[in-house]
Symmetry: C2
Subunit: 216 residues, 2 copies
């Protein structure tokens, strides 16, 4: 998006810094704005009627979220909260709606963004429906891994394991166990640090192998 457009949207206001644990909006509230993440991490989640927290997604640098919500009866379908300190751009719906009428291209880029989210949700549904817990973790690792030469790669988990577990649709205990099962596939964990011996091999496990791990 051209710089001039972004400026007209933010009204020349600078990005705001947030502490960890700040609620940006709650499900059911009128959707008055959407956000662009410049740095840090934000979780999008729902609280179910019986009190469970379900993490839908965790956004980070470069992501936008809640854009689509503005067009759906004006209510957020989920809540959002920073899970680390973060810098966010907040764009008001009223401003955006004005601009979109002057600039149809803006609508197209919004649609592109919404499409990416749709695709990501479709992928997530597929994951939860047919992949085992270890496979879902493997898939996450593959996605999160810094692009390398295919050789052994090391990186840091970006946020709490319990949050990641929830995002992947499992309990923290299951996450812990599933993660240690990945040791058989070249994954070693020390605190926040994860080392993947062979990303291609891990990928293969994530998508194809049901479970043919040989004991010993």
């Amino acid at each position: 998006m051209p710089a001039e457009d972004t400026l007209s949207l933010t009204g020349n206001r600078s990005p705001q810094a947030y502490e960890r644990g700040v609620t940006l909006f709650r499900q059911g509230e009128p959707a008055s704005a959407f956000f662009v993440v410049l740095s840090g991490w934000v979780k999008l989640y729902r609280i179910t009627p019986d009190g469970h927290e379900v993490v839908i997604h965790v956004f980070t640098k470069g992501d936008t979220f809640a854009e689509a919500a503005m067009f759906l009866g004006g209510r957020y379908p989920a809540s959002a909260e920073t899970v680390s300190c973060a810098r966010l751009l907040r764009i008001e719906a009223s401003v955006f709606r004005m601009r979109i009428r002057e600039n149809p291209e803006l609508a197209l880029s919004m649609l592109a963004s919404a499409s990416r989210h749709l695709k990501s949700l479709i992928t997530q549904i597929e994951q939860i429906k047919v992949r085992s817990a270890p496979q879902r973790i493997a898939e996450f690792l593959i996605e999160a891994l810094p692009q390398g030469d295919g050789g052994p790669t090391t990186f840091e988990l970006p946020f709490e394991k319990a949050l990641l577990a929830n995002k992947l649709g499992m309990k923290p205990e299951s996450f812990s166990r599933a993660l240690s099962k990945l040791r058989a596939h070249g994954v070693t964990v020390d605190k926040e640090t994860v080392r993947v011996e062979d990303p291609d091999k891990l990928q293969n496990f994530a998508v194809y192998e049901a479970d043919d791990m040989v004991p010993q």
Copy 2:
């Protein structure tokens, strides 16, 4: 959407009739069009690398689908197939892209539509993550039930149980068993016909009750 707009989009072409089992597009194909369902049922699904079919959604009268796909690198992220005979409106991406530049309002209604899909997928993720098989079926029944006075209601399952099972993220066998468990909550099934004694009570089970069914 005003009638004049729809006409300009379809190029005055009339809706096309499809047999059951017709593939409309396959995942990975260039997304050249999106669809409006006038009647019948269409399933949106993915085939995973290891050959499983995962049903993402089943669309019916009044739904549009694949609109967003046109904006995402031009590839469909899933496949679509009619599961009954159906009448569909097919709208070409090229035509649509032209029109959207002349008519920004069109983009807004597209965004609204994409938002509804986003919300529906978010709901689905929540369902699969935290609800049991019987609860997911109950939820589906509540949604599918014709609006009544809250009293006993009867309706017909709109398509195969195996398809519904897949959509709800379970195997046909599990579906069958889960459905019979709902007998304890006032649901009786005879072939395609489902009778719900007390929709409110069933709704309550779908959202709140973990499982406190009393034997006998």
